[in-house]
C-alpha cells in the first residue's frame, strides 16, 4: 500500500509574526520556517503504519520554493521513502494545491493520502477535502486515531461533542489532527541517509491549476486587548460585573 503525504513549509509555530507595514501580508524576512506541525503528525502516522507493515511506501510531496526542499528532507529523515517537490515561487491556494495533489495521486497510483488537517500559516483547512472531492474518494478529516485493515480505514475523529468513529473504504483521504500522535525527534544519522533518498523535482507547468484565486485585500494586527482593571474587593468585582451586565 502506497501513502502520499503532502507537507508545507510554513512560518515556525513559535515565531511571533509581524504584519508588514503596508498591510500586504506577514513579514517572512529572516523568519524561521518549519514543516507545518499537522503535516509532521500526518507523516508520523504514515510511518507508524509503515512500521506496522500496513503501508509499504511513504511518498512525501511539497509544493513550494526551492527552499522547501529543506522541509522535504526533514520528512525524508523522519522516515519517508521518497520525495516529490513541485517547485514554484507562486503562492498556491487550496484548490490549486488539491489539483496538483490529485494529479500526483494518479501518477503515483497511491492508495491513501494522509495530510495535515490545515496549514498554520493560512489556516484554510480545505485542501484535503477538495482533494477527496476531485478524486471522488471518501474522506475522514481531523483524525485522532487511524487503523487500516482489509481495504478499509477506521478513523476516530474529534468533533465538538466528543469522538466520532468513521469507517471508509480505501482509497481515501485522511487528515490528521493534533492528538493523533507526537512526532518523533529526527535523528542525525537519518538526516545523513535522507540526503541520498530519491527526490524528484517537478515543474508547476505540468499541472492545470488555472482556477479562480482569492485575493488578499489587506492584513492587519488584531485589535489590541483593552487593559484589565484591578478591583479591591469581591463587592467591587460583583458591582463591576453587574454594571457590564455579565451577572
Amino acid at each position: 500500500m502506497k501513502a502520499l503525504v503532502p507537507i508545507k513549509r510554513v512560518v515556525d509555530y513559535n515565531v511571533r509574526i509581524r504584519v508588514k507595514g503596508d498591510g500586504t501580508g506577514v513579514d517572512l524576512n529572516g523568519v524561521k520556517m518549519s514543516v507545518n506541525p499537522f503535516d509532521e503528525i500526518a507523516n508520523e502516522a504514515a510511518l507508524k503504519l509503515k512500521e506496522a507493515g500496513v503501508i509499504s511506501e511513504v511518498v512525501v510531496v511539497t509544493i513550494g520554493t526551492a527552499k522547501a526542499e529543506d522541509q522535504l528532507r526533514s520528512e525524508l529523515a523522519r522516515g519517508a521513502d521518497r520525495g516529490i517537490h513541485v517547485v514554484t515561487d507562486e503562492e498556491i491556494q487550496p484548490l490549486q494545491a488539491a489539483r496538483i495533489l490529485a494529479e500526483l495521486v494518479k501518477r503515483e497510483n497511491a492508495d491513501v493520502v494522509i495530510a495535515g488537517k490545515q496549514a498554520i500559516d493560512d489556516d484554510n483547512n480545505q485542501t484535503p477535502q477538495m482533494l477527496a472531492t476531485l478524486l471522488d474518494w471518501p474522506q475522514a478529516t481531523f483524525a485522532s486515531d487511524i487503523k487500516i485493515d482489509g481495504g478499509k480505514a477506521t478513523v476516530q475523529r474529534e468533533i465538538d461533542a466528543g469522538a466520532e468513529t468513521l469507517e471508509v473504504d480505501l482509497p481515501a483521504v485522511i487528515s490528521a489532527d493534533l492528538r493523533l500522535n507526537e512526532p518523533r525527534f529526527i535523528k542525525l544519522p537519518d538526516i545523513m541517509k535522507a540526503k541520498r533518498k530519491p527526490l524528484d523535482k517537478v515543474e508547476l507547468s505540468e499541472f492545470d491549476i488555472d482556477v479562480p484565486k482569492l485575493e488578499v485585500v489587506s492584513t492587519s494586527n488584531p485589535p489590541a486587548r483593552e487593559p484589565g482593571r484591578m478591583v479591591k474587593s469581591v463587592e467591587e468585582l460583583v458591582a463591576a460585573l453587574k454594571d457590564k451586565g455579565l451577572v
Binding site: 515556525d12 518549519s34 514543516v35 506541525p37 509532521e40 507526537e182 535523528k187 542525525l188
Partner: protein
Amino acid sequence: MNIPELLAEALPQDCVTTEAWALQSYGCDRTTIWPAQAVAVVRPRHIDEVQRCVQLANEHGFAVVPSGGRTGLSGGAVASNGEVVLSLERMNRIVDFDPVDASVRVEAGVVTAQLQDYARDKGLCYPVDFAAAGSSQIGGNISTNAGGIKVIRYGMTRDRVRGLSVVTGKGERLELNRGLLKNNTGYDFRHLFVGSEGTLGVICEATLALAPAPADPLVLVLGVPRFADVLEVLASFRQRFSLSAFESFSDNGLRKVCAAHRLATPLSTPAAYYALIEVDECDGAAEQAVAAFEYCVDQGWVSDGVISQSLGQAAELWKLREYLSETLAAWTPYKNDISVAVSRLPAFLAEADALMAARYPDCEVVWYGHIGDGNLHLNILKPERWSKDDFLARCSAVTDELGDLLVRHGGSISAEHGVGLLKRDYLHYTRSPAEIELMRGMKALFDPRGVLNPGKLIA
C-alpha cells in the same frame, strides 16, 4: 519592645507580617535542610524602607536576611535563627530602559523571566537564564552571581551588572558605578556586592546590560557512551560554531526526567551520557551540525543524536536538561556544584567518579552540568531508608574528600550556587586563609555590627 512591634512602628503597616505561613514560606529557600525560624517578614516598597529596616537592625541588634525568589540551593536566604526576612519582592518595577545604552534599570524584586520578556519586547535579550528563571529575582541573581545555561556565550550575572544601588549593613546608601561602561576611579565596589550573598548590603536596584536578540536556536542532543569523550565533542563543535550552550547529563537523570514529565526519550538507543548543544540557526548551520556529528561518530565518541527541526522541538529538547533539578528534588539530593578548568575535567572526573563509587555504594549519583564552563552538578540521591540526618552526615564527610580533590585540581567548591550555609565550612578548599581573613575584614567594614545575613558565607 519586641522586634515585630519595632518594625511595625517604623514602617508602613502592611510591610510587616508575622503570620505563621509567611514566617515559614519566607524563611526557606530550595534547600530543605534548615527549618524556617524567622521572627518577622518585612516587604518594603521603597529603598527608604529598606534603609530604615537595616538602621533599626543596627540600633536594636537584630539580624536581617535579604531575600529574593528563594530559589537558592545553598541556604543563603534561609532564616533559621530568629532573623527578620527582608523580602525585596514588592520592589519589582522596571524603572528605566535606554535603547542607546542597551541597558535597563530594575528594582531588585523583578523576576528574571519578567526582565527576559521585557528585553525581548524591546528587541534585545537578558541572557542570564536557568531553570528557576520564572521565580528567581534579579537581586538574588546578583547577590549570588547566578550563572546558568548561557554562560559559555554571555558570562555570569556579574558580566551584566553596570551599576547598583545598595543599602550597606551599616545602613548607608551607595550608588555604585553609575551604570557606566568605563569608570576607572579606584576600587570597584560594585563587583564586591556581586556574589556577596547579602552579607555586605542589600541590593535594591541595578543597571543591567542587555545583549542583542539571539538568532533562533538549533538544538542537538547527542548520545555519548564515555564521559571523557563529551569533551572531545565539545572541542569539535567549538571549532565549527560559536556555541550558545553546551550541557551534559547522565542517562539515569534523563530517565527520571522523562518518567516524571512523561517526555519521550530523544534517542531510541540510550547512552551513558548526553550532550545538549545549542547553536545559532542560520543558513548552513544544520549542515555544519550534521558534519560535526558525522566526525564525532567516526571518531567513536558519539553513538546517536537528534536535531531540532522547529523552535518547538528545540524547547522540547531543552526540557530534558531544564527539568532535571526540579525532578531530582523528589529524592532530597545532596548537591555538589563544582567547577574546574574545562581542560582538567577528564582527570578530575576520573578521580571524582572513583570517589563517588567508593563512598556512596548505596546511593544513586546523578550528574549533569554546564560542561562548556567546567561546571558539574553532582547530585547524591538519598536512599529512602536513610534518615535525612544520617544522609547529610555521610554527604558532608565526602564533601571534605571532594574538597581535597578540588584543591589538587585547582577547582571551586561552589561554581554558581554560592556558599550560604551549605558550603560555608568548605570555603577553605577554594579560598586561602589569607583571603578568608580579608573577607572578614571587608564584612566588618560594610557591616560592622554584623546584622546582615550572619553565619552565611563566612562563619
